[in-house]
């Protein structure tokens, strides 16, 4: 476990800011307790100071996981967000998509979001923007990237893709070995 280097922090924040923009400040600068981002075996974890101080006396080989896993660095040093970060993304998301009940299942199996399943979308969402996906009852289901801007989606066919799938809560079952 170690703090992120400057380069790593930059890559990480760039990816995170696609979803929550400037709201990353609320993750770094919290009023309740100091929280940290720490790297452990290429995965970035978000944890309170108390937890970190306890974990520090556990060896690197013995430590499996701690805090909330935000994602991992790939071998080519890009950052991949995991579904486990959804709680924080949903809390601070700038752009949101709501999908109809009949589209929930297909999304949770890892498919892209079609125009037919689109319930609502944040006004003036640009193209290729990170969005958090909600069910119509405001339960966060995952996140993705818009294929078209809000204006252009109006002209699309019902079978066209509105947003590309990136992660969904179905991964808690499908990828439970590698997720945390």
């Amino acid at each position: 476990m170690r703090p992120l280097t400057e380069d790593e922090t930059k890559v990480f924040f760039e990816k995170l800011s696609k979803y929550i923009g400037r709201n990353i400040v609320h993750l770094i600068d919290r009023s309740d307790e100091t929280y940290y981002f720490r790297l452990h075996r290429d995965k970035v974890y978000y944890m309170s100071e108390a937890l970190m101080r306890q974990a520090i006396s556990i060896g690197r080989d013995q430590l499996i996981s701690l805090g909330v896993c935000f994602g991992k660095f790939t071998k080519s040093k890009k950052f991949k967000l995991h579904i486990t970060a959804l709680d924080y993304l949903a809390q601070y998301a700038k752009y949101k998509i709501w999908i109809k009940p009949n589209g929930e299942n297909t999304f949770l199996y890892g498919n892209h979001i079609l125009k037919a399943h689109l319930g609502r979308i944040t006004d003036d969402t640009p193209e290729h923007q990170g969005v958090v996906v909600y069910s119509m009852s405001d339960i966060p289901l995952g996140f993705g990237v818009t294929a078209r801007s809000t204006v252009e989606t109006r002209k699309l066919q019902p079978t066209d893709i509105v947003a590309f799938h990136q992660a969904d809560i179905g991964e808690y079952l499908r990828e439970q070995d590698t997720l945390f």
């Binding site: 476990m1 170690r2 703090p3 280097t5 400057e6 922090t9 930059k10 924040f13 760039e14 800011s17 923009g21 400037r22 990353i24 400040v25 770094i28 600068d29 100091t34 940290y36 981002f37 720490r38 100071e49 970190m52 101080r53 306890q54 520090i56 006396s57 006004d123 003036d124 640009p126």
Partner: protein, 283 residues
């Protein structure tokens, strides 16, 4: 009227708060933990595992709660609170104990000879002038007669030799010798610190020289890229990665993160949503 029957039935609803254990439990109340070293009843454990374990755990918990009720209790807005004592369980320290500094050559010698340190006064009495002067340093008597106006020529010595310059030379030599010893001491103490890596003073010095040679070789226009290499020449190793400690300066880390964030988010300048503003204007 007799209430004893009612009391009995009421009592039998609840389990007893007194629990007997042959070996008393150990508690760490700061962690709300009790440690039970008593042996389990094997026959019951085999035949009636679930119920036995549940019962046993309840009794253990009861003992723990009994202990908590013995603590000093304060009343506040939140209700009655027990003040927990200090934690007893010891968590191992994060880093190994620091290594002892190896004794210097002088310390070793002094120990072998039984020489003990004693404080000397800084000022000494100069009988010739009748004044107190520093033992050494500025305006001090160095005890080598540097201020003598006359030096008698020793017998069997060359009378034409300059005794003053002879003394100066001798002093210079002494200083040089002392400095060489000082350097040697530093090298030896460094080697002793690195002893776990299997390095003595000589090989440490050798490595240092080889590094310096390699660095000086790169002092060409092409940073030594096209230089011919000699047989058996060492390749210089790259810089080792070094990371910040996990628990470091909290403020500094936060500031660094905020600075990086400013750079990352500042590029897009998303304070004003230009797209939205243009759409509003067009309406």
């Amino acid at each position: 009227m007799d209430f004893s029957d009612q009391l009995e039935t009421q009592k039998s609803k609840y389990k007893s708060i007194t629990v007997e254990r042959p070996i008393p439990l150990q508690y760490d109340l700061a962690l709300l933990a009790a440690f039970d070293t008593n042996a389990l009843d094997e026959s019951r454990l085999k035949n009636d595992t679930d119920n036995y374990l549940k019962e046993y755990t309840r009794d253990g918990t009861q003992l723990l709660i009994n202990q908590i009720f013995k603590l000093p209790i304060t009343t506040s807005d939140l209700g009655k609170l027990a003040e927990l004592p200090e934690q007893i369980t010891v968590i191992p320290r994060e880093k190994p104990l620091p290594k002892l500094k190896p004794p210097t050559r002088w310390e070793k010698f002094a120990k072998a000879k039984g020489i003990q340190h004693r404080n000397k006064n800084k000022m000494i009495y100069d009988e010739a002038t009748g004044e107190w002067v520093p033992r050494w340093g500025y305006k001090g008597t160095n005890g080598d007669g540097a201020n003598d106006w006359l030096i008698p020529v020793p017998q069997n010595d060359d009378p034409f030799e300059d005794q003053f310059s002879k003394r100066r030379e001798a002093k210079k030599e002494r200083i040089a010798k002392n400095e060489a010893r000082h350097r040697r001491n530093i090298e030896e103490s460094e080697a002793a610190l690195n002893q776990t890596k299997g390095a003595d003073a000589r090989s440490l010095r050798k490595g240092e020289l080889q590094r310096q040679i390699a660095i000086s070789k790169s002092a060409t226009a092409s940073i030594g890229k096209f230089d011919k290499t000699l047989k058996g020449e060492l390749k210089l190793k790259g810089v080792k990665r070094k990371f910040e400690p996990s628990i470091g300066d909290v403020k500094k880390e936060k500031e660094l993160n905020l600075n990086i964030l400013k750079k990352v988010v500042g590029k897009k300048g998303d304070i004003v949503n230009v797209r939205k503003a243009i759409a509003k204007r067009g309406q």
